[in-house]
């Protein structure tokens, strides 16, 4: 199986009016093709920071990131843009859809940027929309649909160009449990059927239980890791829950 992502000795230090804060401390991460990996950790543990580094929109203080064999630290800005366009898809907590475009137009945006021909483009959009259950709202505008539908639209947009890796930061964070379940089911399906590689960051054990592998981080370091293997989702959920007390919650903040 091909290695999609490989991060080594990742360090990130924030400097804020004289104070240094180490958000990531020597973090290691490897993801293979077709995986659905969850990154779990309490709030403030550095998940978003990690995702921003992988998304190439922020730079690590030190360390190395390779995505599909490319050392992204070696790329210049234009190459990075190209790289993001071809290799990465994003789903963030706050949807980030353009209100002016319809759902369909939002989804095909990445394809439009690739200057794909129209019929092929529409075919792709319809296929992905079917998969995510948003076929019926394609002609609507983002302000006319629910949060769950928005997030599925964002997910569709992230996948439509068939990137090597999809990065999701708390995609269920703003959703009610029904919408969250729908979205997670969709992600799982896409992962299983279309072999899309997904890295999802979450602090929610329920969301994490949909992944095939969950990596726990704490204070900017990998703490432990669980693999689902043959377990049912419910069993896996239970295992994830069991790690949480050891992982600790916000108690660290006071130190």
């Amino acid at each position: 199986m091909e290695t999609i992502l490989e991060a080594k000795h990742l360090k990130k230090v924030y400097y804020n009016n004289g104070n240094a804060f180490q958000a990531l401390d020597d973090l290691e991460l490897t993801i293979h093709e077709g995986e659905f990996v969850g990154i779990m950790g309490p709030s403030g543990s550095g998940k978003t920071t990690l995702l921003h580094l992988l998304a190439t929109i922020d730079e690590p203080t030190s360390g190395e990131i390779k995505i599909v064999g490319t050392d992204i630290m070696q790329l210049n800005e234009d190459q990075l843009s190209n790289f993001r366009r071809k290799q990465l898809g994003f789903v963030f907590q706050d949807y980030n859809l353009l209100d002016t475009l319809t759902v369909k137009e939002n989804i095909l945006l990445p394809l439009a940027l690739e200057k794909m021909n129209v019929s092929k483009m529409e075919h792709r959009v319809e296929k992905i929309a079917d998969r995510l259950g948003i076929r019926s709202i394609l002609e609507k505008h983002p302000y006319q649909i629910s949060g769950g539908q928005k997030q599925r639209t964002a997910a569709a947009r992230a996948m439509v160009a068939r990137p090597s890796l999809i990065l999701a930061d708390e995609p269920t964070g703003a959703l009610d449990s029904k919408s969250a379940t729908d979205l997670l089911e969709s992600l799982k399906e896409v992962n299983e059927l279309d072999k899309v590689t997904i890295l999802m960051v979450t602090h929610d054990a329920f969301a994490a239980s949909y992944c095939k592998r969950v990596i726990f981080i704490k204070d900017g370091r990998t703490f432990t890791e669980l693999v689902k293997g043959g377990q049912s989702r419910k069993e896996f959920f239970q295992n994830v829950i069991d790690v949480l007390p050891v992982l600790g919650g916000n108690t660290h903040d006071s130190v």
Binding site: D58, D78, R85, L88, N96, T100, L109, P110, L113
Partner: protein, 634 residues
């Protein structure tokens, strides 16, 4: 779908977001175009006697408005771009190159700017018609103006705003380069830091403001410029520190009063203000000071306009007045005056005047330019005075014994000297003591300007050595509009080298300077008020977007919509009221410097304040409405 399509779609669909930017740009264009097109309107050129001055004033004032419009557009542009950080973030994620994103924003700004410019000029051409009619009405020559496109104004406006579009577009292009990428994904900083309270600063602020007060009311120096300079220095720094420290201290004090602070929504309102004040200090200071300047402009314009007729009446109470020494000329004048059917004669009065020398060396104050011991004095009799008073509709009474006289205050006496009780000696050794100063002129001004009214018996006695000459005067109906007759008479008199003065000429001169002043002051005032109001409004909108989550949370924990509206109304009131109150206070101070002897709270001042408050109130309502809509819907 290409990138350009996205730009187009975005422009079309996001119209509300763009609308404010578009409107503010367009309104700036309208105002500016209207203003500069004034110098190119033939009707004004014809109607104003001193057009060249008007033209240069307009030109100079247009620089000032460029400054304002520039600041304003810059501000709304930065607001606009800030609002779109998220969108830009998305483009980054989609892997669009920085250069492409820059270009998108660049084109978008250009399209937006150019269409606002075009719309602004078209609407400006319409509006300028209204404005011109307004100006002509202020100049007291109302008329209907046909639609008129001024090419000079279009080019000038195009150049000024073209530069602004270019600058803002470059700024838009640079947006993506100015910040690190990560900035586009971070939430805006929620609150600014709570400023430290500093007792020394607070004291300093009060000291400075007290100083500015002292400078005005207990002036050590007499130079208005120095006073104004010191006042500005003290006021500006004092006001800044006031916002910086005093307000913070005040709110912190309120926070200590727990029963009040914890009551209902006060908690939210006050902490909010406290957290925002850091970023607002400069803005509030600037707006307070600008409001002060604007209000002063209003007062001054209003005052001046109001006093125009009074001034003209004082300078030339009679519609026409000339020295009569030629029967043929008298006939000619009579004919011309009577021909003017629109302005029938109300009264015709012959005023005999004795002109003789006198000695005024005993005067405490001698008006500038009067030779002391041999000054030319003009003398009227008491009964003539009564005739004049009747003709001018004045109710003044005058009782003079033979050695008493009343003096008309000379026109150039700026010092408001007191003449009562002073003595002068007329040629032939008549000593007169002055018992009354007539403040209003009763005869048109002419040199030499030292008029006395004496008793009839004295007049008779003086007449024996000095043959009086005759002023013939006319008062006609609607003398404010006697342009034709006035001009006719003046040229007639000029031919014959006869001294003739008309009310109309003086009135026009006054009204033109005041009318134009008023218009300019009012115009700049409007620009100021629109700019300051809109800036506060924009600032509020910006905060509304930042505070959205905070208010959603409040809703979730059970705050009712009504309560949130009240919080918003309160904290917005603070942002509008504070600079308004401080601006009004400052402006009355400036007013006191400019009109040291005048009463401060005149009708004119109060009306100006009311108009200002009203406009601010409209902005306030709009702000609360928009803010509420942003954070309190759903």
């Amino acid at each position: 779908m290409t990138v350009f399509d996205i730009v187009k779609k975005n422009l079309k669909g996001n119209i509300q977001n763009y609308l404010f930017y578009f409107l503010s740009f367009m309104i700036s264009v309208i105002v500016f175009y209207t203003f500069v097109s004034l110098q190119d309107v033939p009707e004004i050129q014809v109607r104003t006697e001193s057009f060249e001055i008007l033209r240069s004033i307009i030109f100079q004032a247009s620089f000032l408005s460029v400054l304002f419009v520039g600041v304003f557009i810059w501000y709304s542009n930065s607001f606009f771009t800030k609002r779109r950080k998220k969108e830009v973030g998305l483009y980054v994620l989609l892997g669009i190159r920085k250069k492409t994103i820059g270009k998108m924003l660049f084109y978008e700004n250009i399209i937006l700017g150019l269409s606002a410019l075009l719309a602004g000029i078209l609407l400006g051409a319409l509006f300028s018609r209204l404005f011109v009619m307004l100006l002509l009405k202020l100049l007291d020559s109302p008329m209907n103006i046909p639609f008129h496109l001024s090419f000079d104004a279009i080019i000038y406006t195009g150049m000024v705003f073209g530069c602004m579009i270019a600058l803002t577009s470059i700024q838009a292009y640079r947006l993506i380069y100015r910040f690190k990428l990560i900035v586009f994904f971070q939430a805006e900083k929620q609150g600014e830091q709570v400023p430290e309270t500093s007792v020394p600063y607070t004291i300093l602020s009060f000291v400075l403001l007290a100083c500015s007060f002292l400078v005005v009311y207990r002036p050590i120096l007499d130079e208005p410029i120095v006073i104004l300079g010191l006042f500005s220095l003290f006021t500006i720094t004092g006001t800044y520190l006031l916002y910086r420290s005093v307000i913070v201290l005040l709110i912190k004090e309120i926070q200590r009063n727990k029963p009040y602070y914890y009551k209902g929504t006060n908690l939210i309102g006050f902490t909010h203000i406290l957290h925002r004040i850091q970023g607002n200090t400069q803005l509030l200071t600037i707006i307070s000071l600008l409001s002060a300047v604007t209000l002063t402009a209003f007062y001054m314009g209003y005052n001046e306009y109001d006093s125009v007729k009074k001034k003209a009446m004082n300078y030339a109470p009679f519609s026409y007045q000339y020295t009569s020494n030629n029967k043929a000329f008298d006939q000619q004048v009579k004919k011309v005056v009577e021909q003017d059917k629109q302005h029938p004669v109300l009264t015709q009065l012959d005023i005999p005047v004795i002109q003789m020398n006198g000695d005024i060396s005993a005067f405490e104050y001698i008006p500038y330019g009067y030779p002391v011991n041999k000054t030319t004095i003009r003398i009227l009799s008491c009964s003539t005075f009564y005739q004049i008073a009747k003709a001018l509709g004045k109710k003044e009474t005058l009782h003079l014994t033979k050695d008493q006289a009343a003096m008309i205050r000379p026109y150039l006496d700026y010092m408001n000297s007191n003449y009562i009780g002073q003595k002068l000696i007329l040629q032939g050794n008549h000593t007169l003591s002055i018992v009354k100063t007539l403040e209003e002129r009763i005869i048109n001004w002419s040199e030499p300007d030292l008029y006395l009214v004496v008793s009839d018996s004295m007049f008779k006695e003086l007449k024996e050595q000095n043959e009086p000459f005759l002023y013939k005067t006319y008062r006609v109906k609607d003398q404010e509009a006697t342009r034709t007759t006035s001009n006719q008479l003046l040229s007639l008199a000029a031919d014959k080298k006869i001294e003739l003065s008309t009310f109309y000429r003086n009135y026009r001169m006054n009204i033109e300077s005041a009318g134009v002043d008023l218009f300019l002051l009012g115009f700049l005032g409007i620009i100021f008020i629109v700019a300051t109001g809109s800036i506060i409004y924009l600032k509020q909108l910006m905060e509304a977007y930042l505070d959205r989550d905070c208010y959603h949370t409040l809703r979730k924990i059970g705050t009712t919509k009504r309560e949130i509206t009240i919080i918003i109304a309160k904290q917005t009131l603070f942002v509008y009221l504070l600079p308004l109150v401080i601006g009004i206070l400052h402006s009355t101070m400036i007013y006191t410097i400019l009109y040291p002897r005048g009463e401060v709270f005149t009708m004119n001042v109060l009306t100006s304040i009311m108009a200002y408050v009203f406009i601010y109130f409209l902005y306030y309502v709009l702000s609360v409405y928009s803010y509420n809509k942003i954070v309190n819907s759903r």
